[in-house]
Symmetry: C2
Subunit: 349 residues, 2 copies
DNA sequence: ACACCAACTGTTACCGGTAACAATAAATAT
DNA sequence: ATATTTATTGTTACCGGTAACAGTTGGTGT
């Protein structure tokens, strides 16, 4: 059961009868190696099955070609986002070191960041949704003490931080304007938890659009849920009670919209005739809701991708300030997906 | 913009006027340090804000206290599973290095494993669903050349491999037996893709249960989907055409069940009176389907947790063969969640 | 008072690469 | 033919810890 030691650069050097530095040059494709020795070294590498230890290389260079990703639950930050992150990181030659921030939270933040820094990640991607003041630590000066570039996913813009995010305000506008285009006059909103930045932005988009259309927006025109289908159902009952004239509702995410559809059925409301519904997210199931849900789509994979690109860009700048790196950016804009919970034959303005 | 160098163990040693070895002893809580020097060292650590470089430690020890996780899409392997993995890894002091195996697949496997080994992960968790022969590489002898413990998530048992999985066969039995208990006589199945191990196991559970109940199982009693809601809808139409007597259906996952519900509505079938439906997975939305879906639950978080425990156990065995490590295992059993797509008042046998 | 042991601390080497600089050999200029 | 480049290769130090072994000190037994 003897574990055979991985061959090291020295083993290769001995076999090829060169110094280990020359081997290093070969594996790093330095041009200053004669073709003859290069071949000899390559042969030795082949013969021994040598592979460079990234661990050793990382240690010696002081950089690890890896990104720390701090997430919460993945649920929010989302499978699609994660795929975008993973693919882009791979494409740019970075590994991902993942950490889950537990609910409890605040006092875990510094240890978590330290754990990543102790492993010398080249950069950190903060993929925790902004809820209440859980980003308040940014004001504590902690950020300034972090010696690697950091990028934040989907949070309110801040002076000191690099943020990659969708404009949820615009998304809310888009949804609400479409309901107006449908000719609806009483457009309610089922919001996500107010403490969530994304939720309050969507709500602000709804509110602003209605006001610009000359409509009054009253507190009883909104009900709040917690993103879950169950809460959407409950919120809809409350909303209908406080706003009986309701003829359309913009729901802050598709899951809650599912609950709304169920509740509306129970109340005997016809959709979309009596009530138009528009969701947010375009989860894969929403095309199979009953009826299929009109919703707002945001390309989460592109979001993750863009975040990694941005982070990598800042890292390269740091390690090779001389070289001009290009940052190609993907536009992040919402898309309206019209299905059956809004009336047919609407002309979009 | 000068980057201040992280203090190293040597800086601490100088400040505390001891050798760096003594500092090492202090941070590793060796008992052989006098209280007086310990305090002096701790003070120096505090003063400098020293933190041990895990990178250096990993390098010097030849182990990284990290697990390589190879996944596909997360979609399948699932958010819940991932949470279980992350939490358990954190609890046991392991970091996670994540890799995404692209669809293309096979020829990517060896490079991917090598990438992990180059970074000296202590163990590898293979979280790619078994589809068709995508696990055939296990027979190539590659596995034997991997110098670290490896654990496979949810695949067919194999001689040479450590597998942590739910018994999907038993899950299929559980679902089907319940439909029998409901008094149904014509129980069809909407299967996942046959190439998926999980799917074929669930189907086998269905088939076996019916046969044991003395019923005939014909090919036209099954239709196959691809896990998506859309495919569930289509499959149901086909199934109904080929098996008109159908009075119950076991659907291999909840998403397809969603499509089935939609299709059944279109056909004017009452649920559960005309058709009983049972899904699989218990995704959060299924409680809000129309009507709420009866389904089979498996605790995916426990699955991920168990996989990490198993892997960690094997790693510890390897690094400290002398110590007897205990492996506490969580039982992985399915649970029947009865909602409204099956008739009320059934006595479970 | 002397040998011996325990408790504590220090020395040296090593993990596997890379960086910076030095040395040698071959090629070109004068 | 000699000085000077240029191309190629080797030497040495270093990254920040840990392991193995070697001292040093003080207390104890006789």
């Amino acid at each position: 059961m003897l574990q055979i030691k991985r061959p090291s650069i020295v083993d290769v050097a001995e076999l090829a009868k060169v110094s280990k530095q020359t081997v290093s040059r070969v594996i790093n494709e330095s041009p200053n190696v004669s073709e003859k020795t290069r071949q000899r070294v390559l042969q030795a590498i082949e013969a021994l099955g040598f592979r460079r230890s990234e661990l050793a290389r990382n240690f010696s260079q002081g950089r690890t070609h890896s990104l720390g990703v701090v997430g919460r639950d993945l649920n929010y930050f989302g499978t699609r986002t994660y795929i975008g992150i993973a693919r882009q990181a791979e494409a740019l030659g970075y590994s991902l070191l993942l950490k889950e921030l537990p609910e409890s939270g605040i006092e875990q933040i510094e240890p978590m960041l330290n754990a990543l820094l102790d492993r010398h990640v080249d950069g950190i991607l903060w993929a925790v949704p902004e809820i209440a003041d859980n980003h308040a630590w940014l004001d504590s000066g902690l950020l300034a003490r972090i010696p690697v570039p950091m990028v934040f996913l989907s949070m309110a813009p801040r002076q000191e931080a690099t943020v990659v995010a969708y404009d949820n305000f615009a998304g809310g506008e888009l949804a609400t304007r479409y309901l107006l285009d449908c000719g609806r006059k009483h457009i309610g909103h089922i919001a996500g938890p107010q403490e969530w930045w994304d939720a309050s932005e969507r709500q602000r988009g709804w509110e602003t659009t209605l006001q610009q259309a000359g409509m009054k927006v009253l507190p009883e025109h909104v009900a709040m849920g917690n993103w879950d289908a169950a809460s959407g159902e409950a919120a809809f009952h409350r909303l209908l009670a406080s706003y009986p004239a309701l003829d359309a509702v913009f729901v802050a995410n598709d899951k809650m919209a599912l609950g709304v559809l169920l509740a509306a059925h129970e109340k005997g409301l016809r959709i979309p005739e009596d009530l138009a519904v528009i969701g947010f997210d375009d989860i894969t199931e929403s095309a199979y809701f009953h009826p299929p849900l009109t919703t707002i789509f945001q390309d989460k994979a592109a979001l993750g991708q863009q975040a990694v690109k941005t982070l990598a860009h800042r890292i390269e700048q740091k390690f090779q300030p001389a070289v001009q790196h290009v940052l190609e950016s993907t536009p992040l804009t919402h898309q309206l997906i019209v299905r059956k919970t809004t009336p047919a034959g609407v002309i979009k303005t």
